[in-house]
Symmetry: D2
Subunit: 281 residues, 4 copies
Amino acid sequence: MANAVLLTSCPDRPGLVRAVARFINEHTGNIVHLDQHVDPVTQVFFMRVEWELGEDTGASRFKDTFTSFAKETDMTWSVNLTATKERLALFASKESHCLYDLLARHAAGELPIEIPLVVSNHETLRSAAERFGIPFHVFPITKETKAEQEAKELALLAEHQIDTVILARYMQIISPQMIAQFPDRIINIHHSFLPAFAGAKPYHQAYARGVKLIGATSHYVTADLDAGPIIAQDVQRVGHQHSVKELVRIGRDLEKIVLSRAVWSHVHHRVIARDNRTVVF
Amino acid sequence: MANAVLLTSCPDRPGLVRAVARFINEHTGNIVHLDQHVDPVTQVFFMRVEWELGEDTGASRFKDTFTSFAKETDMTWSVNLTATKERLALFASKESHCLYDLLARHAAGELPIEIPLVVSNHETLRSAAERFGIPFHVFPITKETKAEQEAKELALLAEHQIDTVILARYMQIISPQMIAQFPDRIINIHHSFLPAFAGAKPYHQAYARGVKLIGATSHYVTADLDAGPIIAQDVQRVGHQHSVKELVRIGRDLEKIVLSRAVWSHVHHRVIARDNRTVVF
Amino acid sequence: MANAVLLTSCPDRPGLVRAVARFINEHTGNIVHLDQHVDPVTQVFFMRVEWELGEDTGASRFKDTFTSFAKETDMTWSVNLTATKERLALFASKESHCLYDLLARHAAGELPIEIPLVVSNHETLRSAAERFGIPFHVFPITKETKAEQEAKELALLAEHQIDTVILARYMQIISPQMIAQFPDRIINIHHSFLPAFAGAKPYHQAYARGVKLIGATSHYVTADLDAGPIIAQDVQRVGHQHSVKELVRIGRDLEKIVLSRAVWSHVHHRVIARDNRTVVF
Amino acid sequence: MANAVLLTSCPDRPGLVRAVARFINEHTGNIVHLDQHVDPVTQVFFMRVEWELGEDTGASRFKDTFTSFAKETDMTWSVNLTATKERLALFASKESHCLYDLLARHAAGELPIEIPLVVSNHETLRSAAERFGIPFHVFPITKETKAEQEAKELALLAEHQIDTVILARYMQIISPQMIAQFPDRIINIHHSFLPAFAGAKPYHQAYARGVKLIGATSHYVTADLDAGPIIAQDVQRVGHQHSVKELVRIGRDLEKIVLSRAVWSHVHHRVIARDNRTVVF
């Protein structure tokens, strides 16, 4: 049977859980998971509810009737069907580890996703995509061509009805125009423990600062570079014996695992971003 | 039998290990541990050698004769006897967890140290020090009295022949004048994963940024606030469910363990700081 | 205002949350936290509810009326007031690190506990307890005197109305008779990542097996040695360079932190043990 | 220029480092890395030396002359050229994550390896191997056919001059006869933190025991099931909220990363196994 997932947040007030639960029950839904959280600082209420859709209703009808209810409570919300696979576009440049990791998970059926295409600014990773049978599109980018190329990319994403863009070590800055088209739907992996070492060459920065742990951070992309809401992070112990090259090597494993964890949470509709922070249920 | 430890660093060149080993052997020493590292970027050679002192020589005579040898090779070096306990002054303000952790380790004989005194800018922790039988000295500090009070502190440290100052959550900025008296001999614990969240209220910063791990960093104090060479770091997983107060609670355990690890390495003469980084053997 | 905490588990069935919530509301309580979990394998329902007690009721009256309700649903349950400090007896032998850690947290007010006494089978740690002003009782134990000494210990625990016994590296096996008096109320710290290396000399076992991580495990004591429900565990990376002595040193920090985490969860009424596993909210 | 790596272990005695270093120098080699370790319990000396081969000599001549020297010191030793890629056979059954991880690293040039073939007892993973252009050989195994099929596998391994066999979630027990052909050259990944949960269904065992961390262990295969020398281990935090299915999912990432770390160390000639433990330089 099909399940639906509601993700919602709004200013806290008494009775929110009960009201939503009643609403779902009245539409013949049967709740199977319910997670909630109230931020003690901002007094914002967050909830994820998963329910079995009843016979005489569906997600689309639910959406129609939920709209007015949500307006009253000032709710930000989304509803998704668990049976509907999230459609991801993977963007990569020259490093293959994150790309391969996602392609292999897709091939193994680890994630409820479809990958209609891989986009790159270089030819380098064509064989990686194509050996998994995924169309590979190259858009070389220079300062002059950037706007034009992004427009083509956006057309392609629209054509393939892409839900979410995964920047799997894509070494280009996404323009605010493109970000605006995919709010909280572009996921990046940054190769540092943000907010430390934002920007270019984080492993070189980490080496120079002499840190004893290196990290990786997956976050939603916002107009502020490397400053969007963090979805997942992890670290690995390093020491004086590790050159920058060794940090890069050790970091690769961190990057691919952290990115995949963020993608897992996102495509299972477990992440709510608000006030530049995330709740990950 | 007494052991000596040489810590040294210098521009790398062939034959350094052999030359030092021969020097020690000629002074009837028997090497029991030898660790070395050559930084692949800066080409700096680092070495820690521990040896049993022979009958007809000692650390002080070794120092005399080693001086000219070290000058030729442009070595920065120090020699310490493992039988000589490092004399630590603990500085604290109002939070007791790091102070208690070090006092308890001292009482249990976990560390080769003496703690002749605890210094604070508040009365709060007097009972903590005194229940371990350690004299407690209070120097209240205001903007106006800071220079004068630090002068008194320095006199006290000199009187007690303090080797190293441990800032066990001491919430005052140490003046450059005082730092200059204890180069690489003041160890601080900062309650964040530096360089992220330097400065004031790091747990509030961590909460606002929405990080998924919090950290603690122990480092030598330099004139640049929270920017000295890092000795030890560690992190702990957190999530949206943790308020700032919870981050503070979880962070306390990190802080005391990371500080104690740094102190352990320092008092066993295992840390060499150079170019604002450390080699920790 | 006083809060109460209900911990409960029972076979899952629809409407449990609603029924308990209504019950609490009817007794003029206002729920401030509610956590629940249904084990997908055993279909057991677990819940922790914290609520503000209303004016005309209290925990004791709540208990009276809740009893019949709980019987219907086959609930195992307990109610505690957050304002009531848990009374802990600390048992230790010769190693002081876990004892000091708990005594210091107590002195710092980190935990809602009282420590009316420390019990040991040796004199060694008397000064540790007494410098924190805690009475220290010694019961030397031999095979012949064990039953008799435990009887005296039990009398002392009863006299001081001890809620929970903490084995802070107490190197004696507790008899089934004593365990039966404190079901899920004796917490042990075992110096390995259980179930690996149960029994004696776990660091020697870890060295011999050549593991690359060592651990510590805090668990409720049951009649099966080192096999009770696990409350908290953690590990630390080690390698071939570490002797047994080094493993012991590194393990000490693990042990005290893991034990304190388990105590924190227990005294905040966040642990439910059932089927030899725990739910830790 | 070609480098050679010597791995050696023997009973400790004075002068071993100097003797080997002199031997290498006399054969016009220039040492670039030297790591050593003396086990404090067993007094066994371990060393890894990497050197640049001189013009008038090579690894094979070195081997000839080193043999008699090594015999005198009771050394166990091996010499490998870093320019020679290790030839690996990957064995897998139905789970693809470890296989894909190694195939992708190979395709990306992350490891100095060749993978002449993938072996399986099922057809399931044929497409995984073939999309990376690696020949895939299926040997279905029943109790009756096992000896015969292993003989065929051994013939295939010999034909392809396989150095090391990687059991990338291969769910068959390797016979002692086959193990004897590849001493310390068969690497397995076991999906638990060994020695906990050896044998079948470790995630089910972990769930039943209620552990708060799950692990993965990569080790050399010996005749004792899951009891060979451990090369790499890691763990991940879990809790009561994770079903066995969730443990399996979380464990997959651990398994592939831990196996790849073990392979990395092995193919860089950094592992010495002795007395059922490893030294990993």
